[in-house]
Amino acid sequence: MTVRQLVPVVGDCEPADLAEQLLGIESLPPFSDEAIAFAADLSRALARAGRGRPEIEAAAFWMRRAKLNRLAASFAELGTESSLLVPRGIVFHVPPANVDTLFVYSWLLAMLTGNRSIVRLSERSTDQAAIIFDAMRETMAHHPAIAARSAMVTYGHDRDVTQVFSDVCDVRVIWGGDRTVNEIRRISLPTHATELTFPDRFSLAAVRVDAYLALPAPDRDRVAEQFFNDAYWFDQRGCSSPRIVLWVGDRASAATAESEFFDRLRTVVDTKNYQVDGALAVAKLTQAYGEIMDHSIGSYRALGNEITVLGAVELPDVRGEFCGGGLFTSVSVPSLDELPSFVRRADQTLSQLGFTREELRDLAVRLNGKGIDRIVPMGSALDFNRFWDGYDLVQEFTRRVTVDAGRR
């Protein structure tokens, strides 16, 4: 039983040896100077190597020095006079195969909070992933303390290997959807270990019609571009990519807004040169026709192969298997009041335009945990944050130790 190690060095190794090596070294303190210095160096290396690749650039930007300092400061505020946060120990990450950069965030937050990490990477490797691995290896060569605490490996769907890594971990993090979560969950964990799961999610967008229509044309173009980023960056298959667009307001204005919004989106799609290939076009057609039948969808509008808009009168349950590539269900609703009865636990992100903080807080209060983990401005749906799927990863990767000196 061997696995291929990719970071910090390339080579074949025994999973048990790797586990042994990580067990034999101590965790760093949270937000150590060493960890922050490493992350800042990695940020520079990624920015250099990933120029022109927005996903890598976003990751580099996310871990720039200023941001790390802010993160360290907010972490410090979590401690109190009588309690402190300490690393959990070894975090075993299983990121999704199809989002190249996600493992970087998962691992980075575990690393910054002092933990040692094992990352199981997909055997399918892209150019983009290769650039990231190169940058990591190069940076770790100058940071032996980080290199000794990070092991990124790739292997097939081998339960035995996953068991070896699970046996030594204190936290297991499973990304990659329902099937992956269910498969890996069957592999036991040490009694003290915790597990974070990121199953399949569903996301939507809400536009306040009067606010949108009040925007001057250049601003509407900007909204279309922000929506494009939210929807198309991961081929609309990211868990935060919106699939339903709600037009909140009176029906006639909603129709006007919707129609001109998707026309503007078409222009953005052209500018960004986003293209749907034949196979995806057929998959979209199949899904769209299926949904028309499933939910008695009233209208179908295709703006080329890249934008398909299904117009529904009521919120249809279009959750589940999805083709992606720009298929939107567009619904006109009088107010956000329609949402609480529709929202389910699987719903993750609501990206919105034009609502006040009070309206949005009020919605969250009324949802009361039924679903929706994040409400973000249009254009920020995919921005990674330490708060994800309702977890604060920084707190999940640490334990709180209380210190009570007693009465003296």
């Binding site: 199809n98 999610r201 990211g238 290939d277 057929v282 199949t286």
Partner: protein, 369 residues
């Protein structure tokens, strides 16, 4: 207006393209209205696509009929008959865990299907039933706990032969002794052969080579189907396939055919020029997958198949996931009229992105029922 019986009574592959289009158009307009009336899902789809809630208005051109993507039959059971008229349900082949298409036939459509296959095969082979070599294992039809597309293909063809000999065992090994015994009796005579393209090459042809056999099948006729994908990996195309088999067995009459379980009646038979021809009751259109317009002659595009036989489910106009070209129209005088199709293969699937690790299932090629 032509009725369906006339399409059966005329020799298959004989209709000049213009006559065929005219005959099919009327039947398709009627079929579209009939499915609209009887299949609620289809009615909903037409209502949404046309923006009108009225009976289908006659289309002038075959390309103007709405097409359903074949995969829709994996997602939904679409039928135009009440449950008590269901005669049988066919399923497409598929690898484990992959969704299969479900096609509902009533007695009328099942009859049309049987008559269609018979009309097509006897047109090419002649009416006489010949001794037959089935290039498959006998268990493919004995083991009936799953009505697979492979079994359906074999079951559909064995009726055209007699004295059936199954040339492979369960391990796909050529039954050399059995073959010798069969040939002792029938070598040099008209023999019918049938198998899936890949199996014919990999197990029959290679099996003969391995055993050093060169049986005399010069009077034989081979029908095969199932796609070229696996053989393309081995750099075997139709020309090489025919050359190899001809060299080892003397077989000259080799007919590839193309079809799918989702559309009853669409069996496109390879003519002497190597092109695939639609039978009288079917036709084909190539569409550009970006504009969905009809492709120019010789332009590669998605294959849309049309048949006037599906009465029990709305499968008369289907968009496949196969790429192909139309090269021209055959000369009725040659006995092979109609559009000349070549099938290039399946539309390649790009790696999908996204957070959920749902792997694009590898697609097994489909046989013909």
């Amino acid at each position: 207006m032509t009725d369906i019986q006339e399409l059966f009574s005329r020799p298959q592959f004989s209709l000049p393209q213009q006559d065929k289009e005219q005959a099919l158009r009327g039947l398709l307009n009627d079929l579209t209205r009939s499915h609209q009336e009887r299949c609620q899902d289809y009615r909903q789809l037409l209502r949404t696509l046309t923006g009108k809630d009225e009976a289908w208005a006659d289309a002038d051109r075959l390309e103007d009929f709405p097409f359903l993507p074949v995969s829709l039959f994996k997602r939904r059971l679409l039928k135009s008959i009440p449950d008590d008229e269901v005669f049988k349900t066919m399923t497409s082949s598929g690898t484990t865990g992959q969704e299969v298409s479900r096609i509902t036939l009533d007695r009328t459509t099942a009859d049309l299907q049987a008559r269609a296959l018979s009309a097509i095969v006897t047109q090419v082979m002649g009416p006489q039933r010949m001794p037959m070599i089935v290039i498959d294992t006998p268990n493919v039809v004995k083991n009936r706990n799953m009505f697979s597309a492979r079994a359906a293909g074999v079951l559909g063809m064995i009726q055209f032969g007699r004295k059936h000999f199954y040339a492979l065992d369960d391990d796909m090994k050529l039954d050399v002794d059995g073959l010798s015994a069969f040939l002792d009796q029938y070598a040099g005579q008209p023999i019918l052969l049938f198998g899936f393209t890949y199996m014919v090459w990999e197990y029959f042809y290679n099996g003969l080579l391995e055993a050093g056999l060169t049986p005399d099948l010069s009077q034989g006729i081979l029908f095969h189907s199932g796609g070229w994908k696996k053989l393309a990996d081995k750099a075997v195309d139709n020309a090489e396939f025919k050359r190899g088999l001809g060299e080892v067995t003397g077989l000259r009459r080799i007919h590839n055919y193309y079809g799918m379980v989702e559309q009853v009646g669409s069996v496109f038979m390879e003519g002497p020029d190597g092109f695939l021809y639609p039978p009288n009751f079917a036709d084909v259109i190539i569409r550009n997958p970006e504009t969905w317009e009809v492709a120019a002659p010789d332009e590669l595009g998605l294959i849309e198949v049309i048949s006037v036989l599906p009465h029990s489910y709305p499968g008369h106009v289907l968009l496949t996931e196969d790429l192909g070209r139309i090269h021209g129209v055959g000369d009725p005088a040659s006995g092979w009229a109609g559009k000349q199709l070549s099938v290039i293969g399946r539309l390649p699937k790009a790696e999908l992105r996204g957070c959920s690790d749902t792997h694009a299932a590898s697609v097994e090629e489909q046989g013909v029922a």
